[in-house]
């Protein structure tokens, strides 16, 4: 059993693996930001379409978050639409209204194409 090497005495392979992992981590926008945080920071908000959107200039991190959330929501809306035999567009519209209603004051919502603070 080879003795574990640490820090400066890492075998070359170890360093390469480490570099590779760091490189990967830097390349992927991390989902360290969650939706609630993004909302309370005014970075994203609910829209009448039933999906979330960035309020202003979206960083890659915010964009990744928005895409991630919306993708999951779309799947849920499709499931609900199928289960109730109605159009997805109808579910989306109902969801948008509900999401905006449930948005706490101070956060941003987009209604009629306009961002406003609730």
């Amino acid at each position: 059993m080879k003795r574990m090497m640490i820090a400066g005495s890492l075998p070359r392979r170890g360093w390469l693996v480490l570099l590779l992992l760091v490189g990967l981590a830097a390349a992927l926008p991390a989902l360290a930001l969650d939706l609630q945080q993004a909302k309370s920071q005014g970075l994203v908000g609910e829209t009448a379409s039933g999906y979330v959107a960035p309020v202003t200039g979206a960083s890659p991190e915010v964009q990744a978050l928005v895409e991630h959330v919306n993708r999951q929501r779309r799947a849920e809306y499709q499931r609900i639409a199928r289960a109730n035999d109605i159009a997805v567009a109808d579910v989306e519209a109902l969801a948008g209204k509900r999401a905006i209603e449930r948005t706490p004051p101070g956060q941003y919502v987009n209604v009629d194409g306009r961002w406003r603070r609730k």
Binding site: Q72, N84, R98, K118
Partner: protein, 64 residues
């Protein structure tokens, strides 16, 4: 001694002025947020869908 009088005078004048100026706050009246729904579905289905959506938008959901 004169310096204390001077400072006191300035303070008194300042306090007097501050008490006289009315605070005027201009706030734009916020119209209520209205969403015009154009969804035509049975009431029963609407109720059911609203309930399902409420679950989706509950406080412990990571989708809201």
């Amino acid at each position: 001694m004169k310096r204390i009088y001077g400072a006191g005078l300035v303070l008194a004048l300042g306090a007097g002025l501050w008490a006289c100026t009315p605070t005027v706050r201009v706030e734009a009246p916020t119209e209520p947020i209205t969403i015009n729904l154009n969804v035509r579905i049975d009431h029963e289905i609407r109720v059911r869908v609203d309930r399902e959506l409420d679950e989706l938008f509950s406080e412990d959901s990571d989708l809201f």
